[in-house]
């Protein structure tokens, strides 16, 4: 299911930036903007899963939400099916939402506690002109079935569901409008392993059935490895490496990727992990290091890294998919 070279990608993100300016207070000294996302570019092909991984606070959620304009990005371009989203007027954007949907990390907070499950799933239908109640009911029933919920559950309130079931509700809602792309912001990290497996399977089944593309944000590398076609690694608002899943896990190029992969504990007491410890803590995105943002913690850092930011550029690889890395040395 790899993206072919000829067809234009479903989603094209170019040089996306989001800087959070803390509200200027009267007479107060200005505070530096948080450069949460600072120029990321990537494509997602139809039916493909692109994962975004990286440490907490590196800008994954900001990227994901910016793509949907749930957050207004500072600059950049987001094209869906070749159409620029960022310049759409609000009503136009609202109409485009049927093509991009989102699933949130927290299945508890993302469902309105005072709506019935059926209403929650029917809401997007109502928004997009499915006015007949019977039609909606039929569609909701079908969606419930698709995500593995019992049809009777339409009359329950969200708190009557378990975490996994709630996440299914969220998926049903996202699915309702037949989107081409679903942005998944850590959809399984709040779930227990056993439930996580159910949701991961569901997501993969739906992709197989409807050809939906996923922009999959996660920090659990095992899940990412399981579900993705391609993986993008973020560090402090930048993408430092994009490659197809196997390449990335087998031969990571960027030192950060390498360390990240080695840090994950391996559930096998007999394989001694070849652990590379990353020293120190991530710098603040409000005051990012000059040059390569990773240079303060990078084992390979040289003088050039302090001054010049390496561009994300293709490396020769053994697969059809480009392997892009942002490092002066790798």
């Amino acid at each position: 299911m790899n993206a072919t070279d000829t067809a234009p990608a479903l989603l094209q993100v170019r040089d996306l930036k989001k800087h959070y300016h803390s509200p200027r207070r009267w007479l107060a000294p200005a505070r530096p903007a948080v450069q949460a996302v600072d120029g990321v570019s990537f494509d997602v092909a139809r039916g493909e899963t692109l994962s975004l991984v990286g440490e907490s606070g590196c800008g994954k959620t900001t990227t994901a939400k910016s793509v949907m304009r749930l957050i207004e990005p500072t600059s950049g371009s987001v094209k869906l099916d070749g159409e620029e989203l960022l310049s759409l007027p609000p009503e136009q954007m609202r109409l485009r939402r049927r093509d991009v949907q989102i699933i949130f990390q927290d299945p508890y907070a993302s469902l309105s506690p005072r709506q019935l499950a059926g209403e929650i799933v029917a809401e997007p239908l109502r928004n997009f002109g499915m006015n007949s109640a019977a039609e909606r009911r039929e569609r909701v029933r079908w969606l419930f079935e698709k995500v593995g919920l019992r049809p009777e559950a339409v009359d329950k309130y969200p708190h009557e569901f378990s975490g996994g079931q709630r996440q299914r509700l969220g998926i049903a809602r996202a699915l309702a409008l037949n989107p081409k792309l679903i942005v998944c912001d850590e959809p399984v990290s709040a779930l227990d392993v056993s439930v996580q497996a159910q949701v991961v399977n569901l997501l993969m089944d739906l992709q197989a059935e409807f050809g939906i593309a996923y922009l999959f944000v996660a920090h659990d590398l095992a899940v990412v490895r399981h579900i993705s076609h391609r993986v993008a690694v973020m560090y402090l608002g930048h993408i430092v490496e994009i490659a197809d899943r196997d390449t990335l896990f087998a031969s990571p190029r960027h030192p950060y990727t390498e360390i990240l992969l080695s840090a994950a504990p391996v559930p096998n007491p007999r394989t001694p992990a070849k652990r590379m410890l990353l020293q120190g803590d991530p710098p603040s995105p409000a005051n990012p290091p000059s040059g390569c943002r990773f240079h303060t913690r990078c084992p390979l850092a040289q003088d050039i890294c302090k001054t010049q930011a390496p561009a994300l550029s293709a490396r020769p690889g053994n697969t059809a998919v480009e392997h892009q890395v942002a490092c002066h040395f790798r």
């Binding site: 227990d192 497996a197 504990p265 391996v266 559930p267 096998n268 007491p269 001694p272 652990r275």
Partner: protein, 346 residues
Amino acid sequence: MTNPLASQAPATGEPLLEVDDLRTHFDTLSGPARSVDGVSYTVRAGQTLGVVGESGCGKSVTALSILRLLPTPPARISGAVRLRGTDLLRLSEREMRHIRGNRISMIFQEPMTSLNPVLTVGRQIAETVQLHQKLGRAEALQRATDMLRVVQIPEPERRVNEYPHQLSGGMRQRVMIALALACNPEVLIADEPTTALDVTIQAQILELIRRLQKERGMGVVMITHDLGVVAETCDRVVVMYAGRKVEEASVLDLFDRPLHPYTRALMASMPSMNTRSARLTEIPGLVPSPQEPRRGCAFAARCSHAEARCRGEVPQLTAQGQDHVVACFAVEEGRIESAPEGAAAA
């Protein structure tokens, strides 16, 4: 750094902490919640005992019961918790205070919220030292600085006067560890010490705990839901399900030969244990709530091996090979053989 191959460490230390048939029930308005319902384990000096299980299975409540940090009521604790033979559950609150932070310490899951935001980290460490070791204020603060150095916080002299919000998550968790170890406890209980942290930070913290344990010869209870963490840090493992211990074995034994269907399912459902891109193994159904009335094996409803007996009778822990106990009728009756489907590929 290399894996110290924890499983090779001899489990010969003297029994430090013995939890014996611990039951913690909560009186709630919708009936009693049997959060911990008969759990026993032993921690030996220099040994790390892992406790794994899904959310809500009673891992934290067990730990809090040991230190008697649960409010009673609503909690009702019975059984015994022996620290070098002394039953902590029979001590007075005063005597108990002398145990906490001094002989048994605890690290909590949330480094963000487990430190008092309005006191400097130095004071928070010094407070324990002053209390238990009867040190003066200045000496205690000095000790705090030393402890920060021990946990590898850069510039401890400066950090000691900083407030928690000035530290990153990883540093806060180090402070928690410093706090826990300040009085050289015999037992350290770490309740999911790394779940809130990034993998890179998690690796640092686990490494730190492992090192300090080696140096100090403590007994450690490592509570986690991550089998990866267990595999890397523990000597023995207790698997809990719905308030009960369903299996206990040495870490190698458990990963080689998981017996309880729940343990097996847990392992199978982890993505990295599966063949890539194949469907993950699901465990159908849900973890039962501790309020639900129970009859028989709590896992029976989700278990592919369950039979009538499982639904009517509670399986007892039985020894299955050396140092390996499991509570399952299917195992007892030999319906499950020792080579499970999805075991880790060595």
